[in-house]
Amino acid sequence: MRDVAVIGIGMTEFGEIWEKSFRELVAEAGIKAIMDAGIEGEEIDALYIGGMSTGRFIGQEHVGSLAVEVAGLEDLHIPSTRVEAACASGGVAMHQGYLAVASGMYDIVVVGGAEKMTDVVGGEATNILASAADREWEAFFGATFPGLYALMAKYHMHKYGTTQEQLAMVAVKNHYNGSLNPKAQFKRRISVEDVLKSPMVADPLHLLDCSPISDGAAAAVLAPLEIAKKYTDKPIKISASIQATDTLSLHGRKRFDALPAAQHAAKLAYEKADIKPKDVDVAEVHDCFTIAEIIAIEDLGFVEKGKGGKATEEGLTALDGEIPVNTSGGLKAKGHPVGATGVAQINEIVLQLRGEAGERQVKEAEIGLAHNVGGSGGTAVVHILEVI
């Protein structure tokens, strides 16, 4: 297997982007990434595009073909594949792109991720998102997606003493980071009190504990590391790309205070990259709900199991903390167009490792990690990126 590098990135602004269609979002992110990589269309060997539920959000499947058309690549007849793993669709698309280049099958691969969620009304979006859970044995009985994470939150609070205030601090931190990210959906700073006063969605999760419904797209260009310098002065090496799986339902898992698939992916990723959790300088984790970030920093080994709430309170994961987490604002503030999220996380890590993250730049960041989760933990993808 060959080493793989990211040679280009691009993404749209995230938010309620009513004036732009799915097609336009895909085109914008793709063109930005291709321009950033400095490649010509003829050099592209394959496309992968992550999308959770384009069929239900915009009534359009077959978006692999759509992506080739918007990129004007149809005469090349290159393979283009849509990848679906709920909220981890983007991360799994990255993993597919990585495998394609690492195997030697393709040289230049463009990975995209996109979702257009605001073309349906609110209740419909909630119903579509519930399809990431077990429709027959969870959603049928009235469980919602926030409801499943609320079950984990309640369990974590009961077992470890994690508090609602500590959950709220995740949102406060991520909104602060979002205020420094021009592409974030929410640039408004909030307080712990704002979170606790916001309407309850599923106890103990308030509205401001939840990531929003968003539109957006992101892309990344991959190449073999050995030729990456031809395209960019700052190639970022993918030192690990690991995907792991668990049961579709939450009740089928071995434990409820962790996502075993994420723990497994993290362990294998650290082994592959030959680093320890404390070597990570910056991380993007899947904070679809505030409890998810607390569980994530534990699963990734940044802190012991059960200490995530306390660590957040003590500032470990703040922008100026020991391991800054979700410098982009995370899913919470940057926004969460589900299929785009995994690729947008890679965008942020590459910006940080190139030293191009502006006001939210982490000093001397050399190793970055992205943690992307599908559903309530049925899929997990961990990428480790490094400056070379």
Partner: protein, 134 residues
């Protein structure tokens, strides 16, 4: 939504019929085709098994923003329940004050209306849980 999709799950949703691995004896609910411990040895050896219906609340939440099918029914409680046979499932807790629900609470299954397919469509029934009087 087509009726067969609901009809075929009736045994499990009405009567809590799960599966017992014919090799190791472990009980599964919802039903599974393969025991994840015995795997290929269990193929074709998963037997129907009726749960007793009693269990303990492992975690719970109160749904305040319901999905469209449960519009007008909120707030309602959803719980992760550990059944006495060792398997876990997801279900509503009813017939009690929402404030009285707690982790460790003993519950038993009861047969209830779950949702309906619009005003003229089929009504779907299944299990919910209520406090187990000792």
């Amino acid at each position: 939504m087509g009726v067969p999709r609901y009809w075929r799950e009736i045994p499990s949703r009405y009567n809590l019929i799960g599966k017992k691995c014919g090799v190791c004896g472990k009980i599964y609910f919802p039903p599974r085709s393969i025991c994840p411990t015995c795997r290929r040895k269990s193929a074709g050896k998963m037997e129907d098994y009726k749960l007793d219906g009693k269990g303990t609340v492992e975690s719970f939440t109160i749904i305040r923003v319901p999905p469209p099918e449960f519009e007008g029914k909120s707030p309602y409680a959803i719980a992760l329940i550990k059944m006495d046979e060792g398997c876990y499932l997801t279900g509503q807790i009813v017939d009690c004050n929402l404030d009285d629900i707690h982790i460790g609470m003993r519950v038993e299954a009861c047969f209830r209306r779950i949702q309906e397919d619009g005003k003229r469509g089929a009504i779907y029934y299944g299990y919910k849980f209520r406090s187990l009087k000792s």
